[in-house]
Symmetry: C2
Subunit: 258 residues, 2 copies
């Protein structure tokens, strides 16, 4: 199968760098084709701006959605954006690997999403009607592909526990899992998370690569997170609120997992 | 009072641009001193990397925390980083204004946080003991200052309701409110959120500026979100989980609000 590894860490001689190389080797040894987007090494341009659309009408005001739609449809996107979109279309699975910085992904990775998720490619896909509100949350261009996060933190696991001060890791990652990956159609696997990165010694590293290796071995067989499909009857349309009989009385992120 | 307006939108002729100018005028007319960080206009460098630390030992591996600590303490940070830190220290209140892109802040604003939140400035402050785990979550360099988000979305309010498909807006913003603003000591006010930006006509704009104006008029008097203080007895240290008798049985982000 085809696997795209996306890495957002500025230092190759880091735990993240080591884990990236481990994943590359493990997946290759398993017979997969692997491609890499090492965002810092590529000097990826993080900020979505008008420069991304060289063919746009410069007399008009810049509209990120409209301009990305026009450039995507006309084939006038910049080469760096088109190349990353092609990698996503090529991939059967995508792994986003990053250190958790200020409770989310690093800016360079957020900007990778913002710039390559064009209107017509990752959103603004499909019809809107009384029963269907675009091809999203379970449908979309990435349907049939899998995605997984590999995340490192300096903090302790307990700090990210259900009653931990940082908030539960599942909730911190929900906007990425559900809002960035499930939205355009990916099946999303549980994340692999490493805590207390500064305490990782040889024994811990051996345990981590053992666990992570098993996650890679089951990349195409593990059950994804059972997020609810938007257009399959669980939601009122167009309000997009859960119908009364679905998860009755529940609110918040977890209500969107069946 | 001193107010810092931080704007992360690439087009001045946008709703965000108009609201930015409205806030600047309203606050100035009320007698406040206002400074601006218009990140796109400044062409802010979003990605935290080794180039941010020109005095670092290039033979050593790059460690974002350690290198930022050394540069902060030695006064060898880049001029753009030091200038933004000075603005934060100057401000009595900070307003972060941005369109919600993929359920969080734009990359350029995330990178503003990552680069100016140096170790020793926004984290890594204060002692760690059995009763005190750093000056954070209610203490820190920003203690006594206020912060507020002004956020725009294309989606409907119902999509961000307690049972809306995007997840509740309060939960989507929790990592920013609690993890980015409360962490170094800000008192955080409720956000001001505009939905369905593409449907804002003159009447809606009048309503929005009326509401937003009232929020600015009470910027220094409104009650902040009552997040729990880390070092005041609600949390086990160092596990940083809520003590059993605090919000018993509750989990998730909302448990950290008293």
């Amino acid at each position: 199968m085809n696997v795209l590894l996306v890495l957002a860490h500025p230092e190759t001689a880091s735990l993240n760098g080591s884990l990236h190389r481990f994943m590359l080797e493990r997946l290759t040894a398993a017979g997969h084709s692997v491609r890499v987007s090492d965002l810092y090494a590529m000097r990826w341009k993080p900020a979505l701006d008008a420069d991304d659309f060289p063919a746009r009408d410069t007399a008009a005001r810049f509209d990120p959605a409209l301009d990305s739609q026009q450039a995507f449809e006309a084939g006038t996107q910049t080469a760096d954006i088109a190349a990353e979109q092609e990698k996503l279309l090529w991939a059967d699975a995508v792994i986003l690997q990053f250190p958790l910085w200020w409770y989310s992904m690093p800016a360079i990775l957020k900007g990778w999403i913002e710039r390559i998720y064009a209107y017509g490619f990752a959103y603004g896909v499909g019809e809107h009607s009384d029963t269907h509100w675009g091809d999203r949350f379970g449908e979309g261009v990435m349907a049939g592909k899998r995605a997984m996060l590999v995340v490192t933190t300096g903090g302790w696991a307990s700090h990210y526990a259900p009653r931990g001060i940082n908030g539960p890791m599942d909730d911190l990652l929900f906007p990425i899992h559900h809002g960035i990956l499930y939205y355009p159609g990916f099946d999303v696997l549980s994340p692999y998370v490493v805590h207390r990165t500064h305490k990782v010694d040889e024994a811990a590293y051996a345990r981590i690569t053992d666990e992570l290796g098993q996650r890679l071995d089951t990349l195409f067989t593990a059950d994804p997170i059972p997020f609810r499909r938007q257009n399959a009857g669980d939601y009122e349309i167009p309000a997009l609120t859960l119908r009364e009989h679905i998860a009755p009385g529940r609110t918040g992120f977890a209500a969107h997992t069946a």
